[in-house]
């Protein structure tokens, strides 16, 4: 069976492991804003239907504010992490890619997360006021 493994390994090139890691990192960072925009986060909405509508809208806003804070923290820390890696000149093990380049590419997604999270906060605020208009009209 080792010949099969060798045959498969022959199509892989040295350092593919490093490039895969960097590529996955970039991809995951890019997926996060999409997940935030579509509110794809795992949450338990067991009590959502039993709580008053206004309360749920407040929670939406709190969640989005929390996500914005998290996004800002992740982006800022990633930026500092990148500066560290640049300073130490660290490279990946086999392909010798400078690690800070990976961080820099991931910053695109991290900043996207901040922007989308900020948009979501505005979306929740708008949801809050829209509700008040509606209830005012109904009253």
């Amino acid at each position: 069976m080792h010949c099969l493994r060798r045959a498969f390994a022959a199509v892989l090139f040295a350092g593919i492991y490093d490039y895969t890691e960097i590529g996955v990192g970039i991809a995951i960072f890019a997926f996060i804003p999409l997940c935030q925009f579509r509110t794809g986060h795992a949450a338990v909405d067991l009590f959502k239907s039993t709580l008053p509508d206004f309360f749920n809208r407040i929670i939406n806003l709190i969640i989005d504010l929390g996500m914005l804070a998290l996004a800002a923290l992740i982006a800022h820390r990633l930026w500092l992490g990148m500066l560290d890696k640049q300073q130490y000149g660290e490279t990946t093990l086999i392909a010798q890619v400078p690690v800070w380049l990976g961080y820099a590419a991931c910053l695109v997604g991290a900043i996207g997360f901040v922007l989308v999270a900020a948009f979501c906060v505005m979306r929740s605020v708008r949801g809050l006021t829209k509700f008040e208009h509606q209830s005012g009209a109904a009253a």
Partner: protein, 443 residues
């Protein structure tokens, strides 16, 4: 407040946040950071760790198996294999009483071999099998209950996304876990079929039967499912004999399933986009929880809670079996209100270290495999128990004329077979481990 009591208090706080609908990842990161800050008395260590932990987690090679298996499942739903599997199972079982429902279970099991997600299996097989079940006079309760239960075979039968995550968290061998899951998965399918035959035995008017299909047609129908068999053998077999690492096998499986869906003619540009987008969203969701679990667990480790709890359980004189029973019951209760993935990510890093110090009279490797399969099954039961059973909702949403209470009723016999299976697999670990031992014997 001591570090230990801080860590103990963090559980109820975490649960309150989670039940207030705060995303699990956000709740875990916040509590992990605040907790570590309180233990250290300064925020610097956490903030410093944060510089590298996000990149480190997101660019981890082993974790990259997750999006690949998710994409494979997405492609599987477009492969047209659900219909072929159902036709093949029906040609063998359709002439028996309750046979159409049994065929749906059999087809779910087959689909589970190329799809590691329970929801995708339930949704895809529901589309194919639900109209047929109603045509043959099955009541809404039995039809939706059987399909919701059948969907859980998607994660029981390898490949399984939940099992992959367990393997990463508990540092277990993915290939051996897949092997260990195979027999319990087949037992699950048999248990569901027995539940159906008992149901139709007591209410025989609930199911009409089809005509017996001649053997030639049966073999022809079986021949149409060759892509499923090929992909399963290449992925699971390839991992086992060492041609691929599990991550490479997942990539090969995703590409192969994608190819089948293109050849079946069901794939088009917008469906491809849809498959990739939903894979991306689920992937991001899982990775954020992994990140959160990292923060939360490093806070727990800092407070020495897992070690203290393990020492306490070890020294308390409690029988390991009692502890195991309590843990499994806890999973069943939580499964009623939480989704399976979050539950595994939340609990395994805490529970596994405690459980692994207990002596069940088996090697650590065997324990890791056996416990993983038990957790997988009890977590999966949560998908078909009210009030929050996602499979029940998905199937019920397709059956417009069936009230959700009927679906709850229809799922009940299947939950009972699940519970019986958990007891049997707990009492006889050899059922789970036998195949692993057997195949290890050849190496």
């Amino acid at each position: 407040m001591t570090d230990l009591s801080l860590a103990l208090w963090s559980f109820p706080v975490l649960l309150v946040l989670v039940f207030l609908r705060i995303p699990i990842a956000l709740a875990m990161i916040s509590i992990g950071m605040v907790g570590s800050y309180l233990v250290y008395g300064t925020a610097l260590p956490v903030l410093n760790a944060f510089k590298n932990i996000t990149y480190g987690t997101f660019s981890n090679y082993s974790f990259s198996i997750i999006p690949l298996f998710l994409l494979m499942g997405q492609f599987a739903t477009l492969s047209g294999m659900s219909a072929s599997l159902f036709r093949a199972a029906e040609s063998f079982l359709g002439h028996r009483r309750g046979g159409v429902a049994m065929s749906a279970i059999g087809a779910c099991a087959g689909f589970g071999a190329i799809c590691g997600s329970s929801l995708a299996t339930a949704a895809t097989m529901g589309q194919v099998a639900l109209p047929e079940l109603r045509r043959y006079g099955y009541p809404g309760s039995l039809a939706t209950g059987a399909l919701a239960a059948g969907g859980t075979l998607g994660i029981l039968i390898p490949p399984s996304v939940i099992l992959v995550i367990y393997a990463l968290l508990a540092e277990q061998n993915i290939e051996k876990l897949f092997l260990a899951a195979l027999i319990p998965g087949i037992l699950a399918a048999l248990g569901y079929m027995i539940a159906i035959s008992i149901w139709v035995h007591f209410s025989p008017n609930d199911a009409m039967v089809k005509d017996r299909v001649p053997w030639g047609e049966r073999l022809a129908a079986l021949g149409k499912v060759w892509p499923v068999i090929t992909i399963f053998v290449v992925v699971v077999g390839g991992i086992y004999i060492g041609v691929f690492t599990p991550t490479e096998a997942a990539a090969v499986g995703a590409a192969g399933t994608g190819l089948v869906s293109v050849l079946s003619g069901q794939m088009n540009w917008s469906r491809l986009q849809q498959a990739i987008i939903s894979t991306a969203i689920t992937t991001a969701m899982i990775y954020l929880i992994i990140l959160g679990a990292g923060f939360y667990n490093s806070f727990l480790a800092l407070s020495q809670l897992p070690q203290t709890a393990a020492a306490w359980v070890g020294g308390s004189g409690l029988s390991p079996w009692v502890v195991l029973a309590v843990v499994l019951l806890m999973y069943l209760v939580f499964g009623c209100v939480m989704d399976s993935l979050s539950m595994v990510l939340l609990t395994v890093p805490i529970i596994y270290p405690i459980m692994s110090v207990l002596d069940f009279g088996m090697s650590p490797q065997d324990f890791g495999l056996w416990f993983g399969i038990l957790v997988l099954i009890v977590v999966e039961v949560g998908l078909i128990t009210p009030p929050v059973g996602l499979n029940l909702f998905i199937i019920n949403g397709m059956a417009k004329d069936t009230p959700i209470s009927e679906t709850y009723k229809g799922a009940l016999p299947f939950v009972v077979t699940d519970l019986i299976r958990v007891v049997i697999l707990t009492a006889f670990p050899a059922i789970t481990l036998w195949l692993v031992w057997f195949i290890d014997g050849f190496k």
